[in-house]
Symmetry: C2
């Protein structure tokens, strides 16, 4: 059994999956540093990502392994992969192919701000929300 | 019941919590863009963060609400808060007080890289791993 010191200060890669067998994956643009998306990986998605240098995830809604860009062509080439202190989160710095990472047609999934200092009902504000591609065309719905 | 369009293209804030009542929170440095940490929020942590502009989380290990920096003094002032397309992840751009965000004594929790292109056993590589503060002193263990 790995100790906290093994996990936090060691060189052994001991990813900690949650009860559903998933680990959180944060994806940023390797060039701009922009946060593109947050997704999840199971052990198979993580191994494929490490082995191939292409981003693979596990879709919680579709319950299946998923190569990012398999439908859209917007693949992500991993320039650097990091793990956090307690090894329950992964950071991918990627080269994003195509016009964006978000299935809504935007470069980043984080195109709305939550105003700070509000109590009660919150109204989101669109920021960086211009669509960079037409999702209907790209995903051929 | 909110439709996908409401959730993805609307201005209503409808955070989607997982089965444990948690949502993923990604924290970056507002100035440098560096990824500092990944944590989780329950509804109470999220409301307090929105209302106060200070980062609050929910600790899965300690099972309690947690104001970032309450022991260390390393609080996080939220400069901008964003939500992703399906509203199951939150992005905090913060001004990090003190020497770092990581309980191990480092600025970022992501101080080890996973080499890409490896099959089988993986050996982590320390990167940006210098300690910026002494956790034993700061947390008075």
């Amino acid at each position: 059994m790995a100790t906290d010191t093994d996990i936090e200060e060691g060189t052994a890669f001991i990813p900690k999956y949650d009860a559903d067998g998933l680990i959180t994956a944060v994806v940023t643009d390797a060039a701009s540093g922009e946060l593109l998306m947050v997704a999840h990986m199971n052990a198979q998605a993580l191994s494929r990502t490490v082995e191939t240098g292409q981003a693979w995830f596990f879709s919680r809604s579709r319950k299946q392994l998923w190569k990012k860009g398999e439908s859209s062509g917007h693949v992500q080439r991993v320039k650097e992969l990091r793990v956090d202190c307690d090894q329950d989160a992964i950071w991918l710095k990627v080269e994003q192919a195509g016009a964006g990472a978000c299935h809504t047609g935007r470069r980043s999934c984080f195109y709305r701000a939550v105003p700070i200092g509000t109590k009660g009902e919150v109204t989101l504000e669109f920021i960086d929300a211009d669509k960079t591609f037409d999702p209907n065309a790209v995903y051929k719905k």
